[in-house]
Symmetry: C2
Subunit: 258 residues, 2 copies
């Protein structure tokens, strides 16, 4: 099936898409993680297309997490995506045992402003503590996060301190709260300068944006906006995954009509 590669054909399939398919088959069959592909100029020549067209195909494969391109180095086969737990309380919530997955970057305190104020359901003028953190998995930065906490949610927070101490203090007080509700959403986004820097990637990098709301005592006590590298991460939710392995082909597992 899919007896494509027909040079003379009626199917107006774009060249770059066809190219992607061919490349995908090739790397699945003949390449393994970490191996480098021939350079773009050679590949484009080999396939008889302009370099821009070849790049369009590589763009797709990179978006799918199959390739990694490094300036000055080359294009490599990417490692399979790492499963990153985001739902379990132990991972998303500060502290809680071995949650050393998160490393605090900095902490600021400022009035909420209109946007954050509305999202948190507080006056625009109320002070909000914002802790920025980075999440590491297997020695690699995979996510950045801004954790916003209204000051009214932490009434016992001690006065001003050095930034390091304040971050610690906010997180510590947060752990002690009894959370009785949480809600999450996931959507596609691109990393702006700040997040991109945390993720050690260029601006425009596609990310999975996870927005988490935590409630305690019937009110919102924290809002976390986490951005996960879409190329390397597979977010996992719920119980601890029944079956560990789940290859998951892009889509069609059942090969039908061609």
């Amino acid at each position: 099936m899919v007896a494509t590669t027909g040079q003379l054909e009626a199917v107006p399939e774009p060249k770059y898409w066809h190219l992607r398919t061919v490349l995908l088959r090739t790397i699945d069959a003949e390449f393994s993680t970490g191996q480098v592909l021939p350079n773009e100029r050679e590949l484009s020549a080999r396939f008889g297309v302009a370099r821009a067209t070849l790049r369009q195909a590589l763009d797709q494969l990179e978006l799918e997490g199959r390739l990694v391109r490094r300036r000055g180095i080359g294009t490599l086969i990417a490692a399979p995506r790492v499963g990153v737990p985001v739902s379990r309380r132990e991972e998303g919530w500060p502290g809680t045992a071995r949650s050393q997955a998160w490393r605090t970057v900095d902490c600021t305190s400022a009035p909420a402003g209109p946007q954050l104020g509305q999202s948190l359901g507080i006056p625009d003028t109320e002070i909000v503590h914002t802790v920025r953190r980075v999440r590491m998995v297997q020695g690699q930065n995979v996510a950045g996060e801004s954790l916003h906490v209204p000051s009214s949610a932490l009434p016992h927070l001690p006065g001003f301190r050095a930034e390091n101490d304040r971050a610690r203090s906010v997180l510590r007080h947060l752990e002690r709260l009894e959370v009785d509700g949480e809600s999450r959403s996931v959507e596609l986004g691109v990393a702006e300068a700040q997040e991109a820097a945390l993720l050690e990637r260029p601006p425009g990098t596609p990310v999975l944006v996870v927005t988490s709301q935590y409630a305690a005592g019937g009110r919102l006590v924290a809002l976390a906006v986490s951005t996960y590298r879409a190329d390397t991460c597979k977010l996992t939710f719920g119980e601890t995954g029944l079956v560990e392995v789940t290859p998951v082909a892009g889509g069609a597992v059942v090969a039908t009509a061609s």
Copy 2:
């Protein structure tokens, strides 16, 4: 800190990225949902860049779900993403009350094959029923799904029937199972021909791939691979969202240095 954004250089920010920022500010300030932008040739002229460069900026904004481009029509401001519940049992699992969100497309039965066999933990040769469905929200196709069920999980399924009946039958028997475990993952992907068709989008469309495993009696009874349009969908998990509204800026809510 991070006193970046020095106007007078040192930072060779790519043109297309700067353009994206400018366009984003403009549409936030002066355009509203459904409005059409000037055409690409005019925009590129107005900004003094090549059309390809302008398109690179539009590509980004489209990936972020801010723009929709329609061939022959123009580039329009996209509506805000719709929140789509995926975690709640009522939505993901067949039947269950008003789950008319899903419309069955077809149903096939075939041996699992190596990939599916491994994912389901069954022999490659065991028959697997696959129901393909489409999910609609507000009159629009937002997701396609392949629901795989090992035949051994439905021992009481009647013999062969017409396709329509078989799909109904599989779903009905599935509802009756007592699910005692489920697990989900989300990752970025692109729609291949088949899914793309279901979503009424061209191949290569970015999608959020949700993989759900359902267990009953300690064994895997169903594996669902759902592909949601990444441009229009925001997946929601957990309890019924505490606060309905969550504007969620791309990332930086705290506006720093300028």
